[in-house]
Symmetry: C2
Subunit: 251 residues, 2 copies
DNA sequence: AAAAGTCGTTGATTTATGTCAAGGAATTGG
DNA sequence: CCAATTCCTTGACATAAATCAACGACTTTT
């Protein structure tokens, strides 16, 4: 699953519990660069990024940051998967996104993070000190433009998710979710049909505004109808993709 | 309610059905400038904006644009209220936001709008051709930075809304909604306590992922508990604001 | 001014999804 | 390798909110 060169981060995982210690990393060799903020960069700008970046590594369940913490860093996922979520006082949780290689997180307008983030699987990230990145953005407007484009895209994705949360049925939600995972896997150059579903039923439930039980039942139901197949290793085959697309759009 | 100088747009409403014809407008006199993208501008940049902007006016229910249309313009609300929404094939609708004076809409990463927009009340807007605005952004990085800040803020708001849609009860949703309207009214310098609620029950329902009936019943219930009062003219008094805050956070 | 719509409210009933409970499968830890 | 968790699934039951229906208050049209 990992496409990231980890030669430079051998022993990082030792420093527990809150994330591994950063270490300098050569961006020019980055295998997910084309997917992300760094895609727009010339050699010179890339050198600027290299100078401020550090690599980190997280084990499943490791927190990256919590809502309300000072937003001192932004991150780029290079391998694995990260979940971001918000909590209510009584513990109800809403996942606001799952992040995969090439995805960016930590962008904050305020001084603190608006959500919490934690690793789903074993994950590697690039970490940028926010202040330093901002200084870089001032030097290279092209990076700022790229960032604005990414934020606009995130906004469109968020609106799609509101439509899902507010108006779709459980079945439509699950179908939409699996198709989304599949499309994003393809975008990263991974296999889109038996699609990897690395997160737990409970995580999925909290992403879709459902309960674990309903997620589980709905998977079973889609399987019985021949729309999907549950494969070992947390993979799902989209046995009848056209049907899934219809279900997802509520037709 | 309107704080916008409409001297220059007298007869615009004549040109129906899709929005009024644009006309040049002097930004320096804009009364909502401090709230919006234009807040960061020097005289020179403001002149650039003035050169490409045109004013428009919409009657209640007038469409501004539809999802999928070429995204040729971006807009700034100067008076009134606009609703933005997405639809499913069978007509189910999810409101993704209500926009008030100072709010910006139409920002799109793709070539087409990701949602539809239409006037809630009688509304005035500033309209910018997207291409020309982009050229201006290249000249004035400060504007781009401001726009990125606004997009980041929108993203945080969207995540809050996902929490609401996925995890809050009807009562919590209504309480959150009224408090949000109240806070935003204060931000614009309007009265935050008897708060104006210009949209219909049905619009509110589609914003909160509920039905009209549930919205209506929940208003009644909050009134009976003494948390709010329904005043004539679509105003709501937050009779027990601390209680409302508690309800909104699920305590 | 009557007719025809909208809009908001309330009541009766249904239903999709949540809650509670239990057992099996898979994974982790000693 | 076995014990202990955690995760997933399924069943029985409960419930918040949806649906269906009716009506009065306004608005708009004719």
């Amino acid at each position: 699953m990992s496409t990231f060169d980890i030669r430079n981060m051998g022993r990082l995982r030792d420093s527990v519990p809150r994330a591994g210690a950063p270490k300098p990393s050569p961006c020019s060799a980055c295998t997910v660069r084309h997917l992300t903020l760094c895609a727009s960069l010339e050699e010179e700008e890339l050198a600027g990024m290299s100078a401020i970046v550090s690599a980190m590594e997280l084990a499943p369940g490791d927190p990256l940051f919590d809502e309300g913490e000072p937003a001192n860093h932004v991150f780029n996922v290079t391998a694995g998967a990260v979940k971001v979520y918000k909590l209510l006082a009584d513990g109800r949780r809403q996942m606001t996104g799952f992040l995969f290689p090439g995805d960016f997180l930590g962008l904050a307008n305020e001084e603190t993070y608006a959500y919490s983030a934690e690793a789903v699987t074993h994950t590697t990230l690039c970490r940028f000190p926010r202040r330093k990145l901002e200084r870089l953005l001032e030097q290279y407007p092209k990076m700022e433009r790229r960032l604005l484009g990414m934020a606009s895209h995130e906004l469109a994705v968020a609106q799609e998710q509101m439509l899902l949360l507010g108006r779709k049925t459980a079945r439509e939600k699950i179908a939409s979710f699996l198709l989304m995972l599949s499309r994003r896997a393809v975008q990263r150059g991974q296999n889109g049909d038996p699609v990897g579903v690395p997160m737990s039923r409970n995580d999925i439930a909290d992403y879709l505004g459902l309960t674990t039980e309903t997620v589980s039942r709905t998977f079973t139901q889609l399987k019985q109808k021949g729309a999907i197949n549950l494969l070992p290793g947390g993979k799902v085959e989209l046995a009848d993709r056209p049907r899934m697309e219809e279900i997802a759009e509520g037709e």
